[in-house]
């Protein structure tokens, strides 16, 4: 189903309107939780690391560590987990409900391929919005970190921001970006798969919804480990 959803993007018919609608649902709809959690994760990172750096008189390093952690790891992973919780479950329950009420069969009976109409727009929309959500989450996380460092560590906003930017390399941005793409693919395909494989009526829809969140969250964390290892390996080689 994953391969089919991607190959559908290269052949007609394409469902541009449905993709835009899904981008709105998944992207704009997830913005509030991404903004809120991003801000406080940045702030708590500063609070946790700043007190340790204070012991060595290296408070100015806070910007470096928070920036690297957010861009490489926390930004994509936390965004992935939040969007998985919100959207993988939503996708699974929506498609599952359509399946048990025979709407998917009705679609096929009217000559529409459900994988084109239902799966591809969701997968494509998630692939497009996840890097944007991750970038927004990282930016807001840095703002949260900056606010916390100014009020808690008495570090100037300029120092925090300058260090946070200066430490980043292109490979760090690529690491975060590629992770967000992989996580988007995982959560959207898991949501669609669970939804379109519901068994057992409304009870099955509930089960599929839970499964979608559990499976996609675990897969995101496992994939994160391997992607980090790969990124470190590539960083050593290049």
């Amino acid at each position: 189903m994953s391969a089919q959803s991607i190959s559908n993007l290269f052949t007609r018919p394409r469902y541009g309107q449905d993709t835009l609608q899904q981008m709105d649902d998944i992207g704009v709809g997830s913005l509030p939780i991404v903004l809120l959690s991003g801000f406080f994760i940045g702030a708590v990172m500063v609070l946790q690391t700043g007190t340790q750096f204070e012991r060595f008189g290296q408070v100015s390093l806070t910007g470096d560590i928070v920036s690297l952690a957010l861009v490489r790891e926390l930004g994509p992973t936390i965004t992935g987990l939040l969007v998985a919780g919100r959207c993988a479950s939503g996708i699974a329950s929506e498609l599952g409900s359509m399946l048990v009420t025979e709407q998917v069969d009705a679609m096929r009976a009217m000559g529409t391929d459900p994988s084109r109409k239902l799966v591809s727009p969701r997968v494509f929309a998630t692939l497009l919005v996840m890097p944007l959500l991750t970038a927004i989450s990282v930016f807001i996380g840095l703002i949260g970190g900056m606010v916390a460092s100014v009020f808690s560590l008495r570090l100037s906003a300029t120092t925090f921001w300058q260090r946070a930017i200066a430490i980043l390399e292109f490979s760090d941005l690529m690491q975060g970006f590629s992770k967000s793409i992989v996580f988007a693919f995982i959560l959207s395909t898991v949501g669609c798969y669970q939804g379109l494989n519901v068994r057992g009526g409304t009870q099955g829809v509930g089960r599929a919804t839970t499964q979608a969140v559990v499976v996609s969250s675990v897969m995101i964390i496992v994939a994160d480990t391997f992607l980090t290892r790969l990124a470190l390996y590539l960083a050593d080689k290049l």
Partner: protein, 279 residues
């Protein structure tokens, strides 16, 4: 268990002329085979009423007739085409020639009535100028023109079935399959649905396969006809000799055809199993 034979007039026609032809169809799932060598034919313009207990395979038969399921064994020909030699993509195109009315309507709950009815034409890439009058025409046919902008959740069960019929008709298919179209409806609403099916059959010559547990629906189709000239439902067979509406009954039992015949033949049977349907 031997099938009871029929002397129906349609038996005189060859299977190659049939609008729908099942030949020794087997289909099963984890719990074992459901259909065990199902064979029957429906001629163009004919109405075939599929009767049987719950789980006897009525819905499966309809889904096989539109290629939504593939049989484990056997062949299904619809409109002269062998469905299971087709790829899924070819089947998607083929299905636009067959209307399917699902048991609960299966309307898309996030779309309005108008959008539901227009769905098939929009998918086929028809223009707005073409779609709007067609949608109004079929909604007028089911007497639900005023519901165009309503959501399915705002309609009653009977209205949802009528919208489902309108949606199935939008492409003017030569075959319409009804899956328990009157199940769970009150007698008056059921009658309204049956009259729609009668009108569709007698005004447009549509071939129908109707799965039902309500014998009275089958007898209503067999004993009444719709007169397009006077636009009324009348008792007896159609006077239009060019388009004689034939209604036959097909009773499924244990995955096979147990009885096949017209209403008179069904009323005369002394078989205890069939008698249970007549009580």
């Amino acid at each position: 268990m031997d099938s009871l034979s029929s002397s129906s007039v349609t038996a005189l026609r060859s299977d190659s002329e049939a609008a729908i032809h099942f030949s020794d169809v087997w289909l099963g799932f984890d719990e074992g085979p459901i259909l065990r060598g199902l064979s029957f034919s429906a001629q163009p313009g004919e109405t075939l009423v599929l009767l049987g207990e719950t789980g006897s395979g009525k819905t499966l038969t309809l889904k096989l007739a539109t290629g939504l399921l593939r049989p484990d064994r056997g062949a299904v020909h619809v409109l002269g085409q062998d469905l299971f030699s087709k790829s899924e993509e070819e089947l998607l195109r083929f299905r636009r020639q067959v209307g399917f009315v699902f048991q609960e309507g299966a309307l898309f709950d996030s779309l309005t009535v108008g959008e539901n009815v227009a769905y098939c034409l929009e998918e086929a890439g028809a223009s707005e100028e073409e779609i709007t009058p067609r949608v109004q025409e079929v909604l007028r046919f089911v007497e639900l023109e005023h519901t165009l902008d309503q959501l399915p959740s705002e309609l009653s069960g009977g209205m949802r079935r009528r919208v489902a019929i309108a949606r199935a008709l939008i492409t003017r298919p030569p075959i319409v399959l009804y899956d328990s179209a009157t199940a769970g409806l009150d007698p008056i609403t059921s009658q309204a649905i049956i009259i729609l099916i009668l009108r569709l059959r007698d005004a447009y010559g549509v071939t129908s396969l109707m799965a039902t547990q309500r014998l009275q629906d089958g007898f209503a189709l067999a004993n009444f006809h719709f007169d397009p000239k006077t636009r009324t439902v009348r008792r007896g067979a159609s006077a239009d000799s060019a388009r004689p509406a034939i209604t036959r009954f097909l009773v499924l039992r244990e995955g096979r055809v147990y009885f096949e015949g017209g209403p008179e033949e069904l009323l005369k049977v002394s078989d205890p199993y069939l008698q249970r349907f007549l009580i």
